[in-house]
Symmetry: C2
Subunit: 273 residues, 2 copies
């Protein structure tokens, strides 16, 4: 007797089965990340310990306490360089504040800049409370507009309506890779990332996960100059990319829910027989 | 002649007006953040420069180059303490990997842990590609379940259907503050945050922005021990909180879209007259 039949006999509500699938998915993901990253963590630590030893040898007056003090001072403000000729320009200047506001309403939230004052934090809460729904409405509208006015997408939509099958989402998935390739090349050239890092950055941004480990336009290198068109291109890419992805995610959800109700109907039919 | 009439006369498409509202909202937000945080940034810099001066005086062998080297070594791995008795336990252990997987599928993405290997990054992309839609489906189902089975919420839903007005969302907003107050007190006690910081953390987490400046359960203090029920409570809070918020956000979007179509209808009526 398979697991499926056992569940069927026990009449487990479908919401519990869905919950079980979800839990299993997350826990298996946890195991994979642990295996993939845990080993590297160990290697990193040995490299770090070696670097620390070298530092202590180069600067003999520095003890463990001194190291901790330096690190604590530097860590007190993320993104704040310890460089001698530090100017305020790299921090909460106006353009970066506008970018920050955009990462709030899109819920990307890279976190390379965060409000630290109570007033800033409370404002952030209310700003997001109205900004996030507004952002969703705008992106949905833009997504529908793209769907209506771009002939290629329109053809796909007609195709999907006529051939109610699974190939349509794969079609759009292919389209999506095209939407990823141009930014990937641009980021690889501008930021000096590898292709896999650039792909990872594109996905983490457009999925609104936004870890903030890679953020385009915020190189640690102070000599790095970005061209003028770079920020405009990035903003457009994020905006239209999110609208595009909203379309695709809605499609994926529809498919999952159709699959779910299909399975439900089949089970009901089996029960009636 | 007001701005509204001008737009009306010029027959600007409503999508452009919506885009204008959106842009204005984000840009004004940017100005407020800049004003609120920019001043503090300046104060922070003077404190940092003073701390740096003190460090250089305490450890005379350390020059600018040495400071940079120490900071660079420490920054090479975020969250990796420079402590002498460092063990691997604080890093990619299994429980934190599972929490990481959960922050990926919910798109919270705190970023206090990030995959650094190419394999981990590519797996993360595919893990999220299927995990995010699954998460949305599960949360929607749980949200509907709550709405159906909790009598209080059910009463509210009936109320909102009978009295099709604006007071229902305010009602649920009040309910929501209740949902925020218990976690706020718990975080304030357990993490030692102020109430405004705890509220900020609750909102930034449940809105899935997830800056990662505050993350419950990851105190920098190595002596901090969390009680056993803490992680279970946190996971349940995030899960049910997200389901709850999905309900509210869907309601807000409905209201905004109703408002939009109402304005559109009124304009069409005016044009016909
Ligand atoms: K996020
Ligand atoms: K984030």
């Amino acid at each position: 007797m398979g697991l499926k039949e056992m569940f069927h006999l026990a009449r487990v509500p479908s919401i519990l089965m869905l919950g079980l699938v979800y839990m299993t998915y997350v826990l298996i993901g946890g195991v994979v990340f642990w295996k993939l990253e845990g080993d590297l963590g160990e290697k990193d630590i040995s490299v770090l310990l070696q670097n620390k030893k070298n530092l202590l040898m180069t600067y003999p007056c520095l003890n463990q306490e001194g190291l901790d003090a330096v690190v604590l001072t530097a860590a007190s403000k993320a993104g704040l360089s310890f460089k001698n000729n530090y100017t305020k320009s790299g921090f909460w200047k106006y353009t970066s504040s506008a970018v920050f506001a955009a990462t709030v309403v899109t819920t990307i939230g890279y976190g390379n800049l965060c409000p630290t004052t109570s007033a800033g934090q409370i404002f952030c809460v209310f700003f997001a409370l109205f900004g996030i729904p507004l952002n969703v409405v705008v992106l949905n509208r833009v997504g529908k507009y793209i769907l209506k006015h771009l002939s290629y997408t329109f053809t796909w939509e007609k195709y999907s309506l006529e051939h109610d099958n699974m190939s349509a989402p794969f079609h759009i998935l292919l389209q999506k890779f095209l939407f990823f390739i141009v930014p990937m090349i641009v980021f690889q050239l501008q930021e000096g990332w590898t292709y896999s890092q650039a792909l990872y950055y594109c996905f983490i941004t457009l999925s609104t996960i936004g870890f903030g480990d890679f953020v385009a336009g915020t190189s640690y290198n102070p000599d790095k100059m970005y061209p003028d068109w770079y920020s405009v291109l990035m903003a457009s890419w994020i905006f239209f990319g999110l609208a595009w992805l909203a379309l695709i995610i809605n499609h994926s959800i529809d498919i999952l829910e159709q699959l779910n109700s299909h399975l439900k109907r089949r089970r009901q039919k089996q029960e009636e027989e």
